[in-house]
Amino acid sequence: MGAALKKLFVFLVLASIITGLLVHSKHAHFSWEKIPSIDAVFGFIGAFLLIFLKRIISFLSHREEDFYD
């Protein structure tokens, strides 16, 4: 990935978080929705949670391609 692209990406990450801090939900249905930029936390933690789930499934059920043959 080029340096310029990386910079742009970091800028977008920061911009999205800052925008989140400025914009509040008017119709929060759950308590967590009141936390500013909570979606950024979800996005980051969620990705690692999925990596963890992926690892577990891979450990349990990864086989050779000709397993059923």
């Binding site: 990935m1 990406f9 977008l12 990450v13 999205s16 978080i17 925008t19 989140g20 914009v23 509040h24 939900s25 008017k26 249905h29 759950f30 929705e33 930029s37 909570i38 979606d39 950024a40 936390v41 979800f42 996005g43 980051f44 969620g46 990705a47 690692f48 949670l49 999925l50 990596i51 789930l53 992926k54 690892r55 499934i57 891979s58 349990l60 059920s61 990864h62 086989r63 050779e64 391609e65 397993f67 059923y68």
Partner: protein, 599 residues
């Protein structure tokens, strides 16, 4: 003015003309049919038509309302685009199967009674399987058999449910079902086509094995008719709503593990159908609208993804991410279309997935289903990760060994129009809202929603960059629930072959021994005592020979020969005449006695 037809007829009957057409005329005809279908459905009047009495019930071939219309529209739009994508295919069989599959799906959508629904349901299974078999590889044949087997089992379960429903309600009209045995059977029957976990295994097993063009059709119709009938018969059910959440997350985790491009897409069908099922299960106006809007949008971007990956396989012959990479510069149109479809499925603002996914998640939040909201949000993070992986390893990762070019013009055009529709609905969602089943009061572009979605996307993208190595594709197979079905099926085959068939052979042997004994007795009654003595001698001699170990082979041989002589020796042919003569003589004597006594 001609009255509108049930749209299914146009395609099922229209398909029969394909073998008689050639070249450009055939291509034009293929594109003309969905246009005709579209004209047909916009001239349909709301309500029921094409009603026929059947036994003491009524078959309704055309039931038209907002719900059937919106699904009808998208089935025909994508039917046109998928046919455009496949008009270069020379094999008539593929076109016939695709048209009949499309037609029968429309049949299900417009059916007003369970009988016609069931018939169309089975035609769908029986025609779609050819889109897999026409790939003509061994693994496609095998996957096709597993596909049809599961759908026939599902069809059987559905029929059982329908019969139970008729038994209890004395009606075949399609409508909301109330809990009971019929409800359970019909739900499982519908659920199999909708890829409920763990009944989903046919989908990722067979869709990657379809023909390049056939899989585009497959990705559209079966699961979406499933969602449609769920919306008709099972609105508002927590069980269904949470099943949707489980499907969404399950599909996404398994998709992250895949190396084969179309298998990855297939698991995303399970995941995306999860959103639709969740919306329908929530059952509020926003939920059902969201679910149905997601059907509409998903059909567009998922068909586009199958078109893109089909093009990659068509042009490079490679279907695994480990073998692909660096083809963005050779296939720019395909790459751009794939990026648009990936952004759409990831729910990026400005693309169609953003609209309907937001509706479904909002409806779950309004219904205060926090677990469902978290499941669906997590699934949307996974979707984005999965499509960064797909686009990166397919188009951008370093690979010096492949050169390719964009596919034929018709395929490019189909991809272009589909991509345009994804962006158009993304930017102008009102175009979709006013054809939804309920009035839509949903604000798509709120700052909060846009900022939240961008945070999810950018931060999960950031996580991808950090842990890029974890997402690298690997060779191998990931077992799914089909492991249990396949092992179970092998167990059934073993049970049939050994205990059951051995028992059958045992019964057959003992009965034929009995018959043989009677035959010998009847043929040659006076030899019977000698045969019994001979058999006993032989049995004793065999046992003695075995236990004492005496070398009595000569004796055994002699005894066996003697027995054979007795059983089938000279005179046997004649001997068989004796009993007949005796019986005839005895009968004549009996009649004579009767006659004598009678007189």
């Amino acid at each position: 003015m001609i009255n509108p037809f049930p749209p299914a007829f146009i395609f099922i009957i229209g398909a029969l003309a394909i073998p008689f057409l050639k070249g450009r005329i055939k291509q034009a005809y293929l594109l003309f049919l969905p246009v005709l279908g579209f004209i047909d459905i916009i001239s349909l009047q709301p309500g029921t038509s094409w009603v026929y009495p059947f036994l003491s019930y009524q078959l309704v071939l055309c039931q038209v309302d907002q719900l059937s219309m919106v699904i009808g529209y998208i089935f025909l739009i994508i039917g046109f685009l998928a046919l455009l994508y496949s008009i270069h295919v020379k094999e008539d069989g593929q076109h016939i199967a695709a048209l009949m599959y499309l037609g029968s799906s429309l049949g299900v959508v417009f059916a007003g009674d369970f009988f016609s629904l069931f018939v169309y349901w089975e035609i769908m299974a029986a025609t779609s399987v050819f889109l897999i078999w026409f790939r003509r590889e061994k693994e496609s044949l095998d996957a096709g058999f597993r596909y049809i087997l599961m759908h026939l089992i599902g069809g059987g379960i559905l029929l059982t449910g329908i019969i139970l429903h008729i038994e209890s309600q004395n009606s075949i009209t399609i409508g909301v079902l109330s809990p009971g045995w019929a409800y359970a059977f019909i739900l499982v029957g519908f659920g199999l086509n909708t890829a409920f976990i763990p009944l989903h295994t046919w989908l990722p097993d067979s869709y990657p094995r379809g023909t390049i063009t056939g899989s585009v059709f497959l990705s559209v119709y079966t699961t979406k008719t499933g969602v449609y009938v769920l919306a008709r018969c099972f609105p508002a059910s927590d069980l269904i709503a949470y099943m949707g959440g489980v499907m969404a997350i399950y599909g996404v985790v398994f998709a992250l593990l895949q190396n084969e491009t179309r298998k990855l897409l297939s698991y995303h069908i399970v995941s995306q159908v999860g959103y639709m099922v969740a919306g329908v299960g929530i059952g509020t106006q926003l939920g059902v609208n969201g679910g149905i809007a997601h059907v509409f949008n998903h059909i567009l971007y998922k068909a586009l993804l199958f078109m893109c990956m089909g093009s990659v396989i068509f042009m490079t012959g490679k279907r695994k991410l480990t073998e692909l990479g660096g083809i963005a510069k050779y296939m720019p149109v395909t790459c751009l279309a794939c990026i648009i479809a990936s952004l759409s499925i990831s729910g990026a603002p400005g693309f169609n997935g953003f609209v309907s996914k937001g509706m479904v998640i909002s409806s779950a939040a309004e219904a205060h289903k926090s677990a469902l909201v978290l499941l669906l949000t997590l699934a949307s993070i996974g979707t984005f990760l999965s499509f960064i992986k797909l686009c990166y390893f397919c188009f951008f990762a370093k690979n010096e060994h492949i050169t390719a070019e964009d596919p034929p013009l018709n395929m490019q055009l189909a991809m272009g129009i589909t991509a345009f529709l994804c962006v158009f609905i993304g930017l102008y969602p009102q175009s979709l809202f006013h054809i939804l089943p309920h009035p839509a009061h949903y604000h798509t572009f709120t700052l909060h929603h846009i900022a939240g979605t961008l945070q999810l996307i950018f931060l999960s993208g950031f996580a991808f960059l950090i842990a890029r190595k974890v997402f690298a594709p690997h060779e191998g197979l990931i077992l799914d629930f089909d492991y249990f079905y396949r092992k179970g099926a092998r167990g059934i085959a073993w049970f049939s072959r050994h205990p059951l068939n051995d028992f059958r052979l045992g019964v057959q042997k003992s009965l034929s021994g009995l018959v043989e004994a009677f035959a010998v007795l009847g043929n040659n009654p006076h030899a019977a005592p000698w045969i019994i003595i001979g058999k006993t001698e032989l049995a004793l001699a065999t046992v003695l020979n075995r236990t004492l170990g005496t070398p009595g082979r000569d004796l055994l041989g002699t005894l066996q020969r003697n027995l054979q002589t007795l059983q089938s020796g000279p005179g046997r042919a004649r001997a068989s005449h004796f009993p007949i003569g005796i019986w005839v003589a005895a009968s004549l004597a009996f009649l004579l006695i009767l006659a004598t006594l009678g007189s």
